[in-house]
């Protein structure tokens, strides 16, 4: 019997709509060219031996289902256990900003009741990190906590990140927003399966709240312990943090930690290796499969199948899958969403302080 099952709440919707999340849930936002945000939550669970994962779906789930499919890439196509697609709140009732809406969890009590694992690992998918759940399980058992939350001292001020008041390792309260150095919540926690069911019953009348909001008056009664994560973690809630986290991937030390120690799986595609012709110039960049580079790419992240024509320049930019940057065009301090063709001679230009977003074509 596996010790834990996983539950991913993929139905978080952003508070500040951006063109990147107009057409897709935050869980399936592309990251580092070939990944999507959900890959981290899913892979982290699978890497520590979890073989039963429920995923609470957002209302606009097309791209997410397309990506995770039957869970094959995460070895979740199984006879026992595997990937469970769970319904989320109906359109219009999900609250923005809530990661662990009680109603979504209560909807899916059957998923929790049908397994007999001791623990449930619960994660949203708005963060990029590679964590070993076995360490959290061990801390959870050692401390005898009801809930163990994954935290890290905030590296930046971020209004979208939640943070905890923590006294001697025990959580006393939660607030929206994190200032530098606050105990940021990495939107991941471990809880006893039966304890979670019990909490869902307790708060059944307040199911419009987030679990941690519902706990607000009860932190003395419910023992919530913080577990400090020492590795690289980056939130990707909004345009600026999303851009910054992608650019962090230009540091091979970070990508080594994130992708090489325990693998992050993603949907497999039959992409060719990237191709570079004579005259191409590429530096400090990440280039995905099926890209064809004839021009110049610097300080950028390119998704699958991007074509940068002769004389085109991409600098300090994220260019997503299937875009073509035509000859003489220039993309700078910008995020170019999928399938855009940037015409000859055009400039798509933001600044370091104000990254421009070109919506999906």
């Amino acid at each position: 019997m596996a010790k834990a099952i996983g539950l991913i709440t993929a139905n978080y919707s952003t508070k500040f709509p951006s063109p990147l999340t107009d057409s897709r849930p935050a869980a399936s936002i592309p990251f580092l060219g070939r990944y999507r945000a959900v890959d981290f939550a899913l892979s982290n669970m699978v890497n520590c031996g979890i073989r039963t994962v429920g995923m609470v779906m957002p209302y606009n789930y097309r791209s997410l289902i397309d990506h995770v499919g039957s869970g094959r890439e995460w070895e979740l196509t199984r006879k026992s256990g595997g990937l469970f697609i769970l319904p989320g709140s109906a359109f219009g009732t999900s609250r923005t900003g809530s990661r662990f809406l009680l109603r979504d969890l209560a909807h899916n009590k059957v998923f929790l009741e049908r397994d007999n694992a001791d623990l449930v690992a619960v994660s949203a998918c708005n963060w990029v990190y590679n964590v070993d759940y076995n360490e959290i399980f061990a801390a959870h058992e050692a401390s005898g906590a009801d809930i163990t939350v994954l935290t890290q001292a905030a590296r930046d001020k971020d209004v979208d990140v939640c943070s905890f008041d923590v006294v001697d390792g025990r959580v006393k309260g939660i607030k929206h927003g994190a200032a530098f150095g606050d105990t940021a919540f990495l939107d991941c926690f471990v809880v006893g399966r039966e304890k979670l069911l019990e909490l869902l019953d307790w708060y059944a009348a307040n199911d419009y709240l987030d679990l941690f909001e519902a706990l607000a008056g009860d932190y003395d009664r419910v023992n919530v312990q913080a577990y400090d994560f020492e590795g690289y973690a980056a939130p990707i809630f909004n345009k600026d943090t999303y851009f910054k986290a992608n650019m962090d991937m230009l540091d091979p030390k970070i990508t080594h930690e994130l992708f090489s120690v325990r693998p992050i799986a993603t949907k497999a595609h039959d992409n060719q290796p990237a191709k570079f012709v004579t005259g191409a110039k590429v530096s400090n960049s990440r280039i995905s499969g099926s890209c064809r580079i004839y021009g110049t790419v610097t300080n950028s992240i390119l998704g699958r199948g991007v074509v940068v024509e002769k004389g085109a320049v991409v600098d300090n930019a994220i260019v997503m899958q299937g875009c073509t940057i035509k000859s003489g065009a220039k993309v700078e301090y910008a995020i170019v969403d999928r399938n855009n063709v940037v015409p000859e001679g055009t400039e798509i230009k933001g600044t370091e302080a104000a990254i421009f977003i070109q919506a999906k074509a």
Partner: protein, 380 residues
């Protein structure tokens, strides 16, 4: 098991001894090629792109990697799957595959189980893009019993090949194995479509013949010709390369490069598929001083130095100040800082130590190569 029109039998048991250390640990069809592929991806993709749904893969030499790579065949969208067919024992004993025909003879049960109308025999170690459905259409149009894919070769090289002499309708009149005086320049590609009944019948006869070397080219085809059977050619004019030697492996790799390569991996109509399920590397990284000129580069690789006119496969590394030129780095190869790799093939997960020069710019010299999992230091 449902009836199939065309079943593929893919001969993948060869050692590929002329690839030396590249096939020390793996069968030739499992050797990496083209940045992220293995040689067997090409015939398997052809099968899938031709509408074939079931492929029997005959394996024998060093099969572990090949077997695990093939899996169920779902990576190539083969809905009836890949059947891995190594030699096996029966109540009357068992034996290694003695020849190409013997390998198929020992697996006639697999063919009978699938009950196809036609069987296509493929080689697991050549590189081409070929529509087997078109070949089958030709086979049917000719009302042939056996169709052999042929390609025109230069007349001056013709005597190195098994040649087929055909009349104006494509009917084969004569087979010449490496003749001193060629009567034809149509070389056999080792790709055959048989009517299933004929194949089964002939293989049983061949099996019982103690004189036979149990080879399609050497025994089966000459006998069918002598019997007056309807043998036809299928002329193939596209890209086809045997990658069986170090030189042809290197040169064919280089043919993937350039703006208009002879073999274009990016051709959309006939995609090359591979088993990428286990390959979740991040996109290739290019350092601040990287220089990449006329290359293909796989995911997970890290380039800090110069990559010129080369294949940089998945998960390989080119260190600071290192130069890789006119070379092939197989997956996981590491070229450390300041090393130079020129006109060479570096095996999977092998390392060229700092400052070492591997290979030579001298065009008169043979290509340098090393096998998998080796370290090339200063003293070698």
């Amino acid at each position: 098991m449902s009836k199939k029109e065309l079943l593929a039998m893919l001969l993948a048991g060869g050692q590929g001894s002329r690839l030396y250390d590249l096939t020390k640990d793996v069968a030739k069809p499992a050797v990496s090629f083209g940045g992220k592929y293995r040689i067997i991806d090409f015939p398997l993709s052809n099968c899938a792109n031709s509408g074939i749904t079931a492929v029997g893969v005959l394996t024998q030499y060093r099969p572990y990697l090949l077997h695990s790579y093939l899996g169920t065949g779902s990576a190539w969208n083969l809905e009836d799957g890949v059947a891995i067919l190594p030699p096996y024992a029966t109540q009357t004993g068992g034996a290694w595959y003695a020849g190409t025909a013997d390998a198929v003879t020992q697996n006639l049960g697999y063919i009978e189980m699938n009950d196809p109308d036609y069987v296509i025999i493929l080689s697991g170690d050549a590189l081409c893009r070929m529509d087997y459905a078109d070949m089958l259409a030709t086979h049917k149009a000719n009302n042939a019993e056996l169709t052999i894919a042929v390609m025109p070769v230069p007349w001056e090289d013709a005597s190195r090949f098994g040649l087929l002499v055909a009349d104006e309708t494509g009917r084969i009149t004569e087979f010449q194995e490496k003749p001193p005086v060629p009567k034809s320049n149509l070389a056999s590609m080792g790709i055959y479509i048989f009517n299933t009944d004929l194949l089964i019948n002939e293989l049983r006869l061949d099996d019982a013949n103690p004189e036979s070397s149990h080879d399609f080219g050497g025994d089966i085809i000459p006998k069918l010709l002598a019997d007056g059977r309807r043998l036809y050619t299928y002329k193939f004019e596209g890209f086809w390369r045997d990658v069986g030697t170090i030189a042809s492996f290197h040169e064919t790799s280089m043919e993937l490069l350039g703006e208009k390569p002879s073999f274009d991996l990016f051709e959309k109509d006939f995609p090359i598929m591979s088993n990428t399920l286990s390959l979740s590397y991040p996109p290739a990284y290019f350092g601040p001083d990287a220089n990449v000129d006329d290359c293909i580069v796989g995911n997970g690789s890290k380039i800090y130095g110069d990559a010129i006119h080369s294949i940089v496969s998945i998960d390989s590394v080119i260190g600071k100040g290192a130069v890789v030129k006119d070379s092939v780095l197989l997956p996981g190869a590491i070229v450390k800082d300041g090393a130079k790799v020129i006109n060479a093939i570096v095996g999977e997960n092998s390392t060229i130590e700092e400052g070492v020069e591997f290979g030579s710019a001298d065009a008169g010299k043979d290509y340098a190569f090393c096998g998998n999992n080796v370290v090339i230091g200063k003293e070698e």
